[in-house]
Amino acid sequence: MTTQSASTGDSANAGRLSGRQPGEAGRGRSAALLSVRGLRVSERTGAGRRALVRDVTFDVGAGEIVCIVGESGSGKSLSVKATMGLLGRNSRLETGGSVIFDGRSILEMRPEQQRRLRGREMAMVFQEPMASLDPVMPVGKQVAESVQRADALPGRQARSRVAELFGHVGLPDVQRVARAYPHQLSGGMCQRVMIAMALASRPRLLIADEPTSALDVTVQAQLLDLLNRLRDEETMSILLVTHDLGVAAAIADTVVVMYAGRTAEVGQTTQILERPRHPYTAGLLGSVPRLGQSRGGVKRRLAAIGGTVPEPGRLPEGCAFAPRCQKVVERCLSEDPPLEWQGASAVTCWEAPHDG
């Protein structure tokens, strides 16, 4: 397998940060840490109900990195917030489907039980790191808050644990950073602080909602490297949401592609990148600029996907991607394809290739 990947010279694969190959996490579906089936999130509006997330299905195994990839409006952020039970406070949103974490059904829990999981076994990191920290409290104190929630340590011990965590995430000059306020730190440092905060309770699942979207590319690479390293050191699973395929290509074991509130395709990263089964995935790959694509002096054109993403509540009959699809047939316009599993990969497409 290693030899195969190297010989295809796939530039996306060349970007992979660790020696880890897809599937080495060795998870089977029954051993999944997090199991999401048919997740739905609808909004109650004056005119009825609008489905923002229609049917999301994927697994996260122990020690696995799963990336959810989708455009804005695909419902990816809402999906992961729903798995943490964070949508409860918004009275306009309804959640349905099943989310099983470590054998326990999250959506059926009372809010108090959900809360007890958060900041302990499940932790989350957000998109705008500086805005996600309390602006009037020194960051060290905020991390200490998580530490004390997890371990109930007295002051001085909590502080040294904070220092330890900061070191773990690669923050220099620990004392100065701990006393600083969020606006005194750079975006990348704030994100490391958030990661340190999330690690305080040694979570089994770390959810990262577009953790690098607001940061520079160089910082992004460093943070992804950090996440990878942490996955190994802490035996932690990571569920990472991103709109950037490059991020998924860099660290994911499994990729979940979302379109218009639904899972379009799930599969191991190499399979997704080399043999995508859903036309949307193929379109996404085609529209990513890559180095070395101008073979023989002929520059390859970026293939944009024509059309626009449909708005929630204004979905066409049948498959949501049909209006923009190259492989559309009669059936696609009237019937919405179900998610079909084939080994480790799944796809919602009538015309998806079935290979062995």
Binding site: K81, M84, L86, R89, R115, R116, L117, R118, G119, R120, A123, M124, F126, E128, A131, S132, L133, D134, P135, V136, M137, E145, S146, R149, Y181, H183, Q184, M194, M197
Partner: protein, 313 residues
């Protein structure tokens, strides 16, 4: 930080000077005859008039008069009352205590009720508490202060006999005036704090705190309050001005001693040095309060503090 404080002080000084100029010139350039007031009916021969004019410096160019006034003011001499001949500063000093008492009481009421109610209204947005407080805010700030004072007297003094209707003294004399003084300010504080709390609650870090697994109570107490109440310092500082000016009315309605009722009295009696001194005093006090508020704001909001430290501005 020190540089910031000094800068603020430096801005305050020209403001106070400007205030003194405005007060002096408005009173002196506009009609109204102080000499007639001083004479108050006694026979006015030209020589007497001349003497009085000379004594009050009224026969010299206006700028010179102002200069003399300013120099004297810096030495703590604000002139003498036309009516009693006493030093303006001592008259003010004698009456100041009652007003301070009243203003502090009203400010305490405003702060406690206004801040709590504002936060509660935001937390239970759309609920009955919110609507009730909105009513209080809207109507409270519309009711003229002299009217609320009178209404309170009618209900609580003459009907229920809980509190005295007039006079200065201990706690019992303070309740009704403080309440009627505070009503307008409470309405404004509730509105501003409610908005600030709502904005805080919609910030991204709130959901991050929920993701940390903190309980609602912990989030409110440890994080929301600290952020939402940042404008409180500024708002309360501005309200001090409102309260000082409202004291003029409330002290009159309740027959209380204080520089407010003193001001009304001195206007009626056309005792211009006293009017001048009082208005100057109140405005200068307001400037000082705002200065203190500005400086303490840097302590309250760490984001300001850093800006101050980095470029001393």
């Amino acid at each position: 930080m020190l540089e910031y404080v000094l800068r603020r002080l430096l801005i305050g000084v020209p403001l106070v000077v400007g205030v003194s100029i405005v007060v002096f010139f408005i009173l002196h350039l506009l009609p109204g005859d102080p000499v007639a007031a001083a004479l108050a009916g006694s026979p006015a021969t030209p020589s007497v008039i001349h003497r009085l004019e000379a004594e009050y410096g009224l026969n010299r160019p206006i700028w010179v008069q102002y200069w003399e006034f300013a120099v004297h003011a810096l030495h703590g001499d604000l002139g003498r009352s036309y009516i009693t001949g006493q030093q303006v500063t001592s008259v003010i000093g004698a009456q100041l205590g009652a007003t301070v008492q009243l203003t502090v009481a009203a400010l305490a009421l405003t702060a406690v009720i206004g801040l709590c109610a504002g936060v509660l209204a935001a937390m239970y947005k759309g609920g009955p508490v919110d609507h009730l407080l909105r009513l209080v805010s809207v109507w409270g700030s519309a009711m003229p202060q002299f009217w609320t004072g009178i209404m309170l007297i009618i209900v609580f003094s003459f009907s229920l006999h809980w509190f005295p209707a007039a006079g200065t003294g201990g706690l019992r004399y303070l309740v009704l005036p403080a309440v009627s003084l505070a009503l307008v300010s409470v309405g404004i504080v509730i509105k501003i704090i409610r908005n600030s709390t709502l904005e805080t609650l919609s910030q991204p870090y709130i959901i991050a705190l929920e993701a940390k697994g903190l309980s609602r109570g912990a989030i409110i107490v440890r994080h929301v309050l600290r952020n939402a109440l940042i404008p409180a310092v500024t708002v309360l500082g501005v309200q001090v001005g409102s309260l000082l000016s409202g004291a003029v009315i409330v002290e009159t309605v309740f027959g209380r001693q204080g520089i407010g009722s003193l001001l009304v009295q001195s206007i009626e009696q056309k005792d211009y040095p006293l009017v001048q001194g009082l208005i100057l005093f109140i405005a200068a006090a307001y400037v000082i309060v705002n200065l203190v508020v500005d400086i303490s704001y840097a302590y309250v909001d760490p984001r300001m503090r850093v800006a101050v430290d980095t470029d001393g501005r």
